[in-house]
């Protein structure tokens, strides 16, 4: 029978199935960061257990690390304690690789896995972090887990899971100028809603997806979780294989050839059945901007903020009213008249080299607007930072008035010192615009790197297609 990519990834990892269909799924790669692991390590210790397979673990410190003056260490004592706890736990238990604070390969966990070839097609990849869906870009089954599950995977190399339903999001056609993977992501969430993918694993397909780089596919899969799906994935093709060739943990020699032969089977068979198919015309996607406190509250840059009365459902109407109040926006405000205070280019959604190149192209030769108090560029990893500096992108940003920082999660969730003050409005390339996400009382608008760059220059949201 014709199988979906998800079927193939699922069935090749089932160790055991309970009567009700709950499966014990073997886990190939376990990514670990400082926030969701300390309690899991403690649990292991209390139960006198050791990790089942230490060489499945790749770890880094990312959520808490400062992005400026990193040479001075971590000032916040609670953040420091958490990062030091990870250092100590990895020292005690071991790992295939650890990229600690200030290591030159340190970075956001979802950036370092792929760039080191630690994320490979056909793997199951888990991490105590919801954006683990990112790794599905490589034809992996990758999803976020809770801390109890982190401990479970460490102790047993397996996860208890029920198979999800499958959804195909098919994007056909060519993307317009200035439209990127981030816009596809925000657009599809606008279509299916933030709960639309709950209970599903999403495969992204169609010619527009095949045309995306690995960076773009990662951006898209990263936000599958924002559409409610634990996992997002893209079939393996030449783009995948070319990206992986020669990475530190990629196979070599005849292992490489064997691997590639297998990887090429990692796509949905013709005629495979999905539980739901969503068709999207790539040409309908314009640069997106969120206006509310949920990623589904999104429109395009030519649009306007809606009014609560546009919504028939009373729960929705109430939600929109509350969101507009929190965001400090009047109904019917045109998106391109919303002025901003800060700009954040970074996060596991959009901090890879291609994202920085795209933003730099918009910024080059221009200046950040006077009303913008802070414009930050935070590369996703030390390697991304080094690559960008080699290409001179740091100079482009700095000349325009941006700050060029050290890698980490930074203002995506503001666990470190980078944050919004109450009432501040931010054009952000991250993935969540929840209340308080970037700092208590902060107001987040999600956009692509190009759009964030254009907003920095204009001091308000601006149609990047008119800038470049």
């Amino acid at each position: 029978m014709a199988q979906t990519l998800y079927d193939k990834l699922w069935s090749s990892h089932v160790v055991h199935t309970e009567e009700d269909g709950t499966a014990l799924l073997y886990i190939d790669r376990h990514l670990v960061h400082e926030v969701t692991s300390p309690q899991a390590f403690e649990g292991l210790r209390l139960a006198n257990r050791t990790p089942w397979r230490v060489d499945s673990i790749v770890a880094t410190a990312d959520h808490n690390v400062p992005t400026d003056r990193a040479e001075q260490g971590i000032a916040d004592p609670t953040s420091r304690a958490q990062v030091e706890a990870l250092d100590a736990n990895i020292r005690a238990f071991g790992a295939l690789a650890y990229f600690p604070f200030r290591d030159k390969r340190q970075g956001i966990v979802h950036v370092i896995g792929p760039e080191n070839g630690a994320t490979l097609p056909g793997m199951t990849v888990v991490c105590g972090d919801s954006h683990t869906s990112t790794h599905g870009a490589f034809g992996c089954l990758a999803h976020g887990i809770g801390t109890s599950e982190v401990e479970h995977v460490m102790a047993t190399q397996c996860l208890l899971q029920k198979k999800s339903k499958s959804m195909l999001i098919r994007v056909e056609g060519e993307l317009g100028k200035g439209v990127s993977a981030k816009d596809i992501a925000l657009y599809f969430i606008g279509v299916i809603g933030t709960a639309g993918g709950t209970g599903y694993a999403i495969e992204f397909g169609g010619s527009a997806i095949r045309g995306l780089s690995m960076e773009g596919r990662m951006t898209l899969c990263n936000m599958a979780i924002e559409g409610g799906a634990r996992a997002g994935m893209v079939a393996v093709d030449d783009t995948t294989i070319d990206y992986l060739r020669g990475r530190p943990f990629s196979p070599r020699g005849d292992q490489w050839d064997r691997a590639v032969a297998y990887w090429r089977t990692l796509r949905s068979d013709d005629g495979a059945q999905f539980d739901r198919v969503v068709d999207i015309d790539a040409r309908a996607i314009l640069p997106q901007v969120t206006w509310g406190t949920s990623p589904e509250m999104v429109t395009d840059v030519r649009g306007q903020v809606p009014a609560p009365e546009d919504f028939a459902d009373p729960v929705k109407r109430e939600g929109v009213a509350r969101a507009l109040q929190y965001m400090g926006l009047a109904p019917r405000t045109p998106i391109d008249q919303i002025r901003i205070d800060k700009v954040f280019i970074g996060s596991c959604t959009n901090s890879r080299i291609e994202d920085l190149r795209a933003a730099a192209r918009v910024v080059e030769g221009r200046r950040v607007a006077d009303n913008v108090k802070l414009a930050l560029v935070v590369p996703g990893s030390g390697l991304v930072k080094a690559q960008a500096e080699a290409e001179g992108l740091d100079r482009v940003f700095k000349a325009a008035g941006f700050e060029w920082r050290e890698p980490g999660c930074s203002m995506c969730l503001a666990m470190n010192a980078d944050r919004l003050e109450p009432g501040e409005r931010c054009a952000s390339t991250s993935n969540r615009n929840f209340e308080g996400r970037q700092g208590a009382g902060g107001r987040t608008h999600l956009v692509s790197p190009q759009m964030a760059a254009a907003a920095a220059i204009a001091g308000r949201f601006a149609d990047v297609r008119e800038v470049v």
């Binding site: 073997y26 190399q157 064997r258 308080g436 208590a440």
Partner: protein, 212 residues
């Protein structure tokens, strides 16, 4: 893990959709390396008028009198009534830890986000999915009835309203079995250790590059 069988509890209604885990517990508290003590910071930004910091004495902070959990009639509630897509966003298990530590044992709503839903079961919390119209009724009854309580029976898979109306719910048999017995999943999984080893050995031969 605490076992869950039957309970009677006061209901507190949280009438908003898409409540995310950043709202359930904001990031500054994620710096803790402990698993307990998150109850006082549950729904922190809605519950208090100031911005909280870890390590603070939360009992001295100014409460937001408008927030539902601060109203006298909902003190001691152990069932949280919620709207669709509750628990969306980050995978932080601190969210169910905070809910449990506050004193809730069960949640009732239409839909829960996937990761949050499974995190609940690992912490002795029962998330119950009911049809929209049943949830709507519960919100209405709860609003109109001081001291509104429900009876939940996990074994029989029913929620019993005070007016005698009983509502059946679905739960995976395996999850139910673990919760009723208070079993820890790791122990259960390790009963299959031989199978895992066999699987791993086969994989090592078929895809040796995964074991480099």
């Amino acid at each position: 893990m605490k076992a869950f069988t039957v309970m009677d509890g006061l209901v507190a209604p949280l009438d908003r959709a898409n409540v995310d885990t950043d709202a359930i517990i904001p990031k500054q508290y994620l710096k803790s390396i402990k698993r307990s003590g998150f109850g006082p910071t549950l729904f922190d930004e809605w519950r208090y008028l100031d911005v909280g910091e870890p390590g603070q004495d939360h009992s001295k902070r100014p409460l937001n009198p408008d927030f539902v959990l601060n109203q006298p009639r909902f003190q001691g509630a152990s069932i949280l009534l919620v709207r669709e897509n509750f628990g969306c966003g980050s995978s932080r298990e601190h969210a169910p830890w905070a809910i449990e530590d506050y004193g809730f044992r069960a949640l009732i709503g239409t839909t829960f986000a996937d990761i949050f839903y499974s995190n609940c079961f690992k912490n002795g919390l029962l998330p119950i999915r009911l049809p929209e119209k049943e949830v709507e009724q519960l919100f209405l009854q709860c609003a109109g009835t001081p001291g509104y309580s429900l009876h939940i029976d996990l074994d029989r898979q029913v929620v019993l309203r005070p007016d005698g109306h009983s509502i059946g719910f679905d739960v995976d048999p395996f999850r139910k079995y673990c919760l009723i017995n208070g079993f820890d999943d790791i122990g259960l999984t390790l009963r299959h250790a031989d199978k895992i080893r066999e699987f791993e050995a086969r994989r090592r031969i078929e895809q040796p590059w995964l074991f480099a």
